[in-house]
């Protein structure tokens, strides 16, 4: 029981970080960035290359991954999203294709066999009778710190408030002197960084493989659909619903069913409550 609680909290913290970058984009542009999983993949591989292949400091690996994530976000917004303007279906199709292209690029550079990412912080700690790796514990703590920082940024800074404003009423934001284009660009950059950092932790929790972009994408889509909209608190809550669901299913039914219930939950919410559990347009 306690084991499930601790595992659930740890996994959910990681899922919240993974989903946050995705929900941020949904919140501000009402568009699903289906290439989001590719940020995680590129982030994970970049960290692998810098810190394991080149043997550079791990922190540098995370930093390089984050910077690359920001660049990918900027490019994706400038080249695809802005060009396609309000055509959400076109953006979603293009981003999905982009994810497959990036996957091919990863196979070309790193090969298609999966790779083990060494724990960012090795070791195991005993928490209330449950053994927990430092790696996932640190990942969860950092997730919380990043989400807390993001929450403060969005609530307390002019730029953060502008992001909320654009997500709630684009015309209202424009007549307040906010340039929605610039706010979108910033948001895509932040989303890329969150994805890439999330990818480093996700890969260290599972493994690196060219198909690793799919699972986090499903988690992220689930958070948006179940939550109804991309608020930070909503993301946190729904990440915990999904994280605990997985941990309970794995512990009580079968590990093979891990992601299945998440997908069933997506369908269930779509059918019974299409506006999601929260359904408020806020950030």
């Amino acid at each position: 029981m306690l084991q499930i609680l601790i595992q659930g909290l740890l996994l959910s913290g990681l899922y919240a970080l993974i989903a946050m970058g995705f929900t941020l984009i949904f919140s501000i542009g009402r568009v699903l960035n289906l290439a989001y999983g590719a940020y995680l993949m590129v982030g994970g591989y970049m960290y692998f290359w810098v810190s394991q292949t080149l043997g550079m400091p791990k922190l540098l690996g995370v930093a390089v991954a984050a910077v690359l994530g920001v660049l990918m976000g900027f490019l994706k917004y400038r080249l695809i999203v802005k060009t396609l303007k309000g055509d959400h279906v076109a953006v979603e199709i293009s981003t999905l294709i982009l994810a497959v292209v990036i996957q091919a690029g990863i196979v070309l550079v790193f090969g298609d066999s999966s790779k083990i990412l060494l724990p960012i912080v090795p070791g195991v700690i005993n928490v209330a009778g449950a053994s927990v790796t430092y790696n996932i514990l640190i990942a969860t703590l950092i997730s919380w710190a990043i989400l807390l920082g993001l929450f403060a940024f969005v609530r307390l800074t002019h730029t953060g408030r502008a992001m909320q404003a654009v997500s709630m009423d684009a015309k209202g934001a424009a007549i307040s002197g906010i340039d929605p284009d610039r706010i979108n660009l910033i948001t895509w950059g932040i989303s890329g960084a969150l994805g890439a950092i999330g990818g480093v932790f996700f890969a260290s929790y599972t493994q690196l493989s060219p198909s690793m972009w799919v699972a986090p994408l499903i988690i992220s889509v689930a958070v948006v659909i179940v939550g109804g909209i991309g608020s930070i608190l909503g993301t946190l809550v729904v990440a915990h619903i999904i994280g605990f669901l997985e941990v309970i299913v794995v512990a009580t039914l079968a590990p093979e069913l891990r992601g299945v219930f998440t997908m069933l939950l997506i369908i269930g919410v779509l059918v019974t409550r299409p506006q999601g559990l929260f359904g408020r347009e806020e950030l």
Binding site: R161, K171, G172, A173, A174, I175, S176, G177, E281, E282
Partner: protein, 235 residues
């Protein structure tokens, strides 16, 4: 040179033409009203000044053309806008709504905020309330307040009295007079309510079906009953 000059303005939503060949001038310190029935193009006119719609023709503020500028640049040029539907941020507090208005005028936050609070004491009392839970009159106040937080010289107000109780209309009129007289703002409002416009504005333009029908001082139009009856059915 007039303060605001609109010259042969035509505006489009996609391919639909909403305004045809509109010309308006506004002198500094004036209150000008654009009146006309529903669907006359009044909101489109203000949206055009704010750079929110595609236009032909020219709009100049203090001699500088606003054509091709983004709404954010136009706000920086000193134009504040309180739109008909308010376009507030529903899940933000009153205070945060006002703070968003301060996005381009961060040095003036304190002075603008105290001006807004002195005009609308209610906004200070309710500063923590989400605007989604407020009445129409309160939202109108937040909308005015947010526009004032941008430090405007020219205030555009779209149908300030629509759906509001007569008592609140009266308060809104008082606020607009005060902004004009005490704070020196130039004001352009649109109205369906001709009496409200006549009581407030020094000059009036009459718009119908996207075209300018007539214009004149409030006194000229007040005495021209036939003209008003034609547009407002004698209200």
């Amino acid at each position: 040179m007039s303060y605001l000059e609109i010259e042969n303005l035509s505006a489009f939503y996609g391919k639909a033409q909403a305004l045809t060949d509109i010309s308006i001038t506004v002198q500094p310190g004036e209150i000008v009203a654009v009146v006309g029935p529903n669907g006359a193009g009044k909101s489109t006119l203000l949206d055009s000044i704010m750079g929110l719609v595609k236009i032909d023709g020219d709009i100049r503020l203090r001699g500088h053309s606003l054509v091709g500028r983004t709404p954010s640049e136009i706000v920086r040029h000193g134009v504040g806008y309180a739109p008909e539907r308010f376009n507030l941020f529903p899940y933000m507090s009153v205070r945060d709504n006002l703070m968003v208005g301060a996005f381009t005028a961060r040095d003036d936050i304190q002075s603008n905020l105290s001006m807004v609070h002195s005009l609308f004491p209610r906004l200070e009392e309710r500063e923590g309330q989400e605007t989604s839970t407020q009445s129409g009159g309160e939202r109108q106040m937040v909308s005015f307040g947010r526009a004032l937080m941008t430090s405007p010289e020219l205030l555009l107000v779209d149908e300030p009295t629509i759906g509001l109780a007569p008592k609140i209309c009266h308060e809104i009129a008082e606020v607009l007079r005060k902004l004009n007289k005490e704070y020196g703002l130039t004001v352009v409002i649109t109205e369906q309510n001709a009496n409200f416009a006549l009581s407030l504005a020094s000059r009036i333009y009459v718009l119908e079906s996207g075209r300018m029908q007539t214009s004149g001082t409030a006194d000229e139009l007040r005495n021209d009953k036939r003209l008003l009856e034609a547009y407002f059915g004698g209200h």
